[in-house]
Amino acid sequence: MWCDRRNDFSREGTVKSRLLEMLGISDIRREVVLMVSDKKTAYNALEKLNKEFHFDKPHNGIAYSISVLDVFGMSSYDSSAIEEEEESRGVQNTMYKAICTIVDRGKAEEVMEAANNAGAKGGTIINARGSGIHETKVLFSMPIEPEKEAVLILAEDELVDKIASAIREKLKIDEPGNGIIFVQDVNKAYGLR
């Protein structure tokens, strides 16, 4: 059963709560918002979002940004625009990385368990579907896309290898069809502690 614990005392950003885990109500609904823009706009938006949603305070979630190489389908984006660096709050060129693990549905708990044992402080699970080359099945001429879970974990630089290795080992990621892990640099982050 889901209950709204938006203002729960024990939550910190997306950090795992031992108390809620003990009570068996540690599954919290979240929303993940993905937006792409030029850096200047993105940093301004992050600043404004932090002021409005108070990511610096516990229980309010996190916000971070990652570099994007190219974008298509955004007619309003001018790729020739010159980037202007602006002083702003938040942590720039953070010592954090984003670890994204995509595994079969039902295995996210195992991913989180391995990550937490390796030092991760929290993570967000997103339901997904899709398949790699090893698992495309066709039923009545229609390709079947297996259900997946994507696990987003933000971790400090020095913990990233340890966490990724723990997940690789536990989920046997290196064997074909068991999922993938990729790691991205985080440029700016709010709400991490």
Partner: protein, 45 residues
């Protein structure tokens, strides 16, 4: 681990927020010039 040097002026913003606030996040970001956003439902353990 090798970091790829930045080649573009683009940035992806991820906001992980409480359930029900995603639309407000996009609305606020739009006021700052972001053209739009996509909201996924997620959960934490």
């Amino acid at each position: 681990m090798v970091s790829i040097p930045e080649k573009s002026n683009l940035e992806a913003i991820y906001v992980i927020t409480n359930y029900g606030l995603g639309s407000k996040v996009v609305k606020t970001a739009k006021k700052c010039g972001v053209t739009g956003g996509t909201i996924f439902l997620g959960r934490e353990l």
